[in-house]
Amino acid sequence: MTTLPALGVGAIFVPGLEPLLAAGNGLLDYVEIEPQTFWFGDRKGGGVGERVEAVVAAAGVDHRPALVHGVGCPVGGSAPPPVDDLANLAAFADRVDAPWVSEHLSFTAVDDADGTDWTGLLLPPPQTAAGAEHVAGTIRDVRARLDRPFAFETGVNYLPETPGDLADGVFWRRVAEAADCGILLDLHNVWCNARNGRQPLDDLFDDLPLDRVWELHLAAGEQRDGVWLDAHDGLVDPELLAIAADLVPRLPGLRAITFEIMPEYFHVGGFTTREVRGQLGRLHDLWDLRRPGVGRGARGGEQERRTRRIGADPPAGVHERERERVLAARVTDRPDAPAGDDGDDDERDRIAVMQDLVRAVRRGLAVSALPLTLRLLRLELGRDEVERLFRLHWAARPPQQYADREGAEFARTVQAEVGDRVAHLGSVVAWELAVIDQARHGGSRTVDLTCEPLALLEPLGRGDHPGALPVAPHRVTVTP
């Protein structure tokens, strides 16, 4: 049996959260790094090089342990995570010597004859007995490739319960026991699920094998269009802290309590050092409630809690892969997406919220890759025209998993739809794509611009329109 270290209280880390680590100095026993947020997915070895080393240094891994939390290799779908991505994740886990690695029991891709379609959002898998067996096999394979202990994260699910599916806690128990792995219980996810009408928390905690919970995630969220979202947009709600305080003594294997927040929300929130330290102090209070080795695990017996049957059983022969494909098509604005099986109004409303989330993710990925291009478009054409371009892009091109890819695809849309209507737009696009390509592959890149480079790029960097610049061809070599 693997003996895992008791780590204490930590925080998620991605670039941009350096101020969180600084504010929490002395109160963060570990960091949990999400490496896929800052590397290119198709680069061998996870880009374990200069950029990765800079992030590792910023995370303070030299003086505290680091966990690795995947966001790009979810294990809940019919399609297994790409082998190269897993190799990258393994390399990074080796680099920081992570005591365990966690990933989501969700899916972000569906495979078909034409290749892989990305979903743009972590989506919930069908919760069937066959599905549980399948993803348990995936987890066993992933763990072998990582060669480290593995825990899956309990995902958020904005959809109503599917008649005939296993309840959330039963599904997760089946997976955990079949895979013999740990559970990262994201309390904010399951709280959202319960508030959105899925399994009540008391029932969930009865169904889960609590002795397999190694780690808790705690975060904040918000309500939009009647749905509670796992937004990671602030400090943990006191009501959720109270739920955690009741639960922690029942978790004999708990090794870590992780606070999660997105860097953008951290900046926008303007949280003071006192607020951050107060938050982390409350998490340490939770940590002190542990009773290691004391507590019961899963409820005895073989109760198979299924969801309330509010309609007929699903049609026989509907395979998990097909259900994933239908859900992915519906949330990604695919013109050929089916309307869904039952036409339920509540489900349609939830799908609409998820579509909006996917659109927001795609906007975010595009602006991360092409900030100056989008700034010039907004300044020259206005917000409405930029929104029209986004909508054309979403209808024409599927989501991409990584920002660099989404940016490259959006650049194609921009060049096709705008072309020469905006002076020097092609130069800005070419510059940004060259910078990304240089970062991805190293070496130098040459790019032709139609005007003096800094006269164009510097104002955009400040958020200003560069004005009417004379045509003055420049050939720029982008160097390391």
């Binding site: 998620i12 670039p15 941009g16 999400e34 896929q36 947020t37 800052f38 590397w39 290119f40 997915g41 939390h69 966001v71 790009g72 959002l121 972590l122 994260e153 904005y158 995630h217 979202l229 796992d230 937004a231 990671h232 947009d233 953008e264 926008v268 989330l357 993710v361 906007r363 975010g364 602006v367 991360s368 890759a369 900030p371 700034r375 907004r378 990584y402 920002a403 940016g407 510059w431 940004e432 910078v435 990304i436 970062a439 032709d448 003096e452 480079p453 800094l454 790029l457 510097e458 955009l460 960097g461 958020g463 003055a472 061809p473 420049h474 050939r475 720029v476 070599t477 982008v478 160097t479």
Partner: protein, 69 residues
């Protein structure tokens, strides 16, 4: 800043720029994280991505003070 300027032909000027200039140029992105540090997947969240909304409101003064429009 450019490392060198060279008039190569009568119509085209050749310039070398280190890639890090992309970061140095973009004041707003620098406030949050390097451009090159945010080219991967989205994070562990299923909430509303506000990166475009922040960009849409972005403006900085010449003293690099970030303003919301």
């Amino acid at each position: 800043m450019p490392e060198r300027f060279e008039r190569a032909t009568s119509t085209t000027i050749h310039v070398s720029l280190p890639a890090r200039v992309a970061h140095d140029l973009d004041t707003f992105t620098k406030v949050q994280a390097s451009i090159l540090d945010r080219l991967g997947c989205g994070g562990c969240t299923s909430g509303y991505d506000i990166r475009w909304g922040l960009e849409d409101r972005f403006r900085v003064t010449k003293d690099l003070e970030v303003l919301a429009q």
